[in-house]
Amino acid sequence: MPHTTRVLRSEWTKIRSVRSTLWTLATALVVTVGLSAVFCALTASQFDNLGERQQATFDATQTSFSGSVLGQLAMIAFGVMVVSSEYSTGMIRSSLAAVPQRTVFLAAKIFVATMLVLVVGMITSFLAFFVGQALLGENSVSIQDEGVLRAVLGGGVYMTLLALFAMGISFVLRSPLLAFAILMPFFFLISNILTGVSATKDYAQYLPDQAGKTLTAVVPESLNRPYGPYEGLLIMVAWTVAALIAGWIVLKRRDA
């Protein structure tokens, strides 16, 4: 068996043998689907009370993914835990003693986690969509409508990229506490506040999660961004790649 395959199997064993994996991913799915369902049910009952402009730019697809506001935090938690638990437990010393080729180690860990998150992210996104649309009733859209399938797939990609971004940052910060303390408030509050304030919006709309939102939108006017979903994807990928490269440099350079 080639070396890389063996390291991948080893990383898979690691990821499936700790409880935090199940907890964080299950939370991401349940919270996203559940909260989206609540939003959709509320929207359906209040739709007639919405303003004319709001009704005109109503994005049923995005509404059925709105629970990701909280669900994404669990995805970030997964990314943080997968990487930083190596450092907080001291496991990193065993890991690097077993696989001293650090680039292989990092790539294998990220690949295994990415595959897992992609699967869970896609299930979450599709489940949230179908549950949400069922609740939206007459305001719902079909998966066959223009741009809808892309947006639902985009939901899964969005969650995956966010987890990857968190993994890259965790390789840089190495401490779970620090990673949580920076990433959680950032994605839950700061990013949204900066985008909400007109003075900072021009810059804040290029933050990873804000760019990623275009992925899940079908009605561009609902977001009012100067770029479309594919540019949004590129921006988010750029952030993620930058975080992973930073993490790779730190892993290569620093003592374990």
Partner: protein, 373 residues
Amino acid sequence: MIELRGLTKRYGDKTAVDHLTFSVQPGMVTGFLGPNGAGKSTTMRMMLGLDSPTSGDVHIDGKRYDQLRDPLNYIGALLEAKAVHGGRSAYNHLLCMAQSNNIPKKRISTVLDLVGLSDVAKKRPKGFSLGMGQRLGIAAALLGDPKILMFDEPVNGLDPEGIHWIRNLMKHLASEGRTVFVSSHLMSEMALTAEHLVVIGRGKLLADTSMADFIAKNSRTFVRVRTPQPERMRDVLGSVGVMPVFEQDGGMQVEGIEPARIGELAAWYQVVLHELSPQKASLEEAFMQLTAESVEYHAQDQTSPQGAPQRGGPQQGGWQQQGAPQQGGPQQGGWQQGGPQQGGPQQGGPQQGGPQQGGWQPDHGGNPPRKRR
């Protein structure tokens, strides 16, 4: 075989490991000894490629650690700090390490049996005792059946049974022809297990010698003689070809002659003796003296090894009796009660012999205040 060449690690302007060059030979236990903070763990981490050296390198069977494919099959290590995810079962911990290094699964149950953890294989190490955690670390080190084994302070915090087990394990592994490299800050521990000794202090190599040589060189025996007639005693000893070494506080160290013979000579030449005591330096004291200048943090203590060398070197035991009577001890009861007029319990006779007392009293006249210091 492990070879270190000019291995150096600096953190800012502090040098943790300073141009270490030595090699670890197969088929024996090599002790890696040094006081706390001497750089032992840093050296071991560099051997495993976990820390990168500022300069110099380590070769394992001729290769750098990160050039080893499946390194666990060459070298197994138990590091001082815990290196296990507390939430991953012992079995799965070993499984993920085995998978990455192409080690067959059946080896996992073999090593778990070997360290006695088979019953808790499915348990999470979070709830393990210190000793169990140490055993899991050893199981991981043995997983690839490596020719080289490294243990960083393996007996730290273990109960006597665990210590005994690890000692025997290390000897057994060496007897199978493996290279065993074990660090400790306790000389007494090394004396029991190691055949070869590498001593470092402040990151510098202080000794690289066989244990037998170290013991021969450092377990010096001599006789301490104290007399009010030192010049005469010197001449007497000189007449049989022995040169005593004078200590600062008036005693003398005599080597190469039995205490009984000294006593007989003194009696023959009518030299008064106040002390005649055989002294033997322990290995621990030899180690302390060797590393005295390189100890990272000295305790503020009058008996610290810093002061020891001038006062008579390794024979601290004897020095405490004489130079630092405030330390208590059975002999002093007599001293303090009796004051200067009474000889020490060692001397017995002198207080009765009139003529000698004259010479003897002034000698000790200044002593009582010093004793109570």
